[in-house]
Symmetry: C2
Subunit: 199 residues, 2 copies
DNA sequence: CCACCGATTGACTGGTCAATCAACCGGAGG
DNA sequence: CCTCCGGTTGATTGACCAGTCAATCGGTGG
């Protein structure tokens, strides 16, 4: 919980917000719910953040920048597109495994809510698509992937599949067990890459 | 405006709602916006519907039942999984081509909003996944698809890719031209099916 | 011509919350 | 011991809106 010296209230509020957002959804979360969950006065939320929206923004930006970094790192690493895409999917699935609440909030309230909140972050989100597209493009350049699929198209299909699986776990449409995550990553990458390879 | 005989106000309201929901999103649409758009008094909306929610429900159910029917029909038709999945993706893409506003509303406000509204319709939505999974399963049975991918898993990946492409068009992440839709369908089916076929 | 009835109208109510703000507290520094 | 100041408190305000309901309209049949 709170560390010895500062008891960083800002962090306390952010972490509490994740829990409440995950439980009730952003829209039906009252600012007072966040304050209560954090064990903090209502007004303090407004001391650290300008609005309820900004709390969500902060959570999203924090994590999404990690994803963008992970995509770039995967791209820089050795190996073919199969390995690179495996790293990307692995990072996303691991994020969920490590902090399901946070990923649920990000996926459900931002990424998939592209009309309301997502609109604001479309640029950031698009950057992830483009990073994945770049991996595909390089794979095509090296002949590892066939060239008749637009990289952005392949990227969207790949990311869409990843997110849909995540959503399936989040909402219990498909069962999730510890081992499923790695298996899912391999299976997904295999399927998509086999489909993208030259015949 | 009003047609000669009945001027079906209920329909008028539903169609107006589609336009307004597509423009502003469900959440920031006031019931008065719908009434204004339909050229009808505020109270009349409540004469035909119990709540703002029910308006959206109605729109979703109307169209989703068509999708479910289309999936079943595709499954009953002759041909391998490739043809069947092509029909499913084709139906969805055509739905968007034919009535982008309605599809935008359904995807953005229901299907992808799995926390709020989607929760109510999870059962219906799941039925679509299962229909697609059945097609995959049969393809595995006949040896047309490899058997080491769980049908539900493949179904989610397939549907996720479809929905992501749709979202890309809806939000302008990827450009959409008339010819793109059919091309996208073929490309997507090719990619996914190649990935699902025995090697 | 009237009585009736469902469709239609829109002003109003009740309740909900995001955001504000004035007051409070406790420690650092003088 | 006092002052100052930033972190902290929570009651209050003001806006917003879904849903209600009593009144009106217009068509139909007797």
């Amino acid at each position: 919980m709170a560390q010895a010296p500062p008891a960083d209230k800002r962090r306390l509020i952010l972490d509490a917000a994740v829990r409440v957002f995950a439980r009730q959804g952003f829209h039906s979360t009252r600012v007072s719910d966040i304050a209560d969950e954090a064990g903090v006065a209502y007004g303090l939320v407004y001391h650290y953040f300008n609005s309820k929206d900004q709390v969500l923004n902060e959570l999203f930006t924090e994590r999404w920048s990690l994803l963008l970094a992970a995509i770039e790192e995967a791209d820089r690493a050795d190996g073919g597109p199969r390995e690179k895409l495996g790293k990307v999917a692995g990072f996303i699935f691991d994020s969920y495994r490590h902090d399901p609440d946070l990923m649920k909030v990000i996926i459900v309230e931002v990424t998939r809510a592209a009309n309301s909140f997502g609109q604001t972050h479309l640029e950031q989100i698009r950057r992830a698509y483009e990073g994945i597209a770049r991996i595909v493009e390089e794979g095509q350049g090296s002949g590892a992937l066939r060239g008749d699929v637009a990289p952005m198209f392949a990227s969207m299909a790949f990311y869409g599949a990843v997110e849909q699986l995540l959503s399936g776990w989040i909402f219990g449409t498909i069962p999730a067990s510890k081992t499923d995550f790695d298996q899912a990553r391999d299976l997904l990458v295999t399927t998509i890459c086999d489909g993208l390879e030259p015949r």
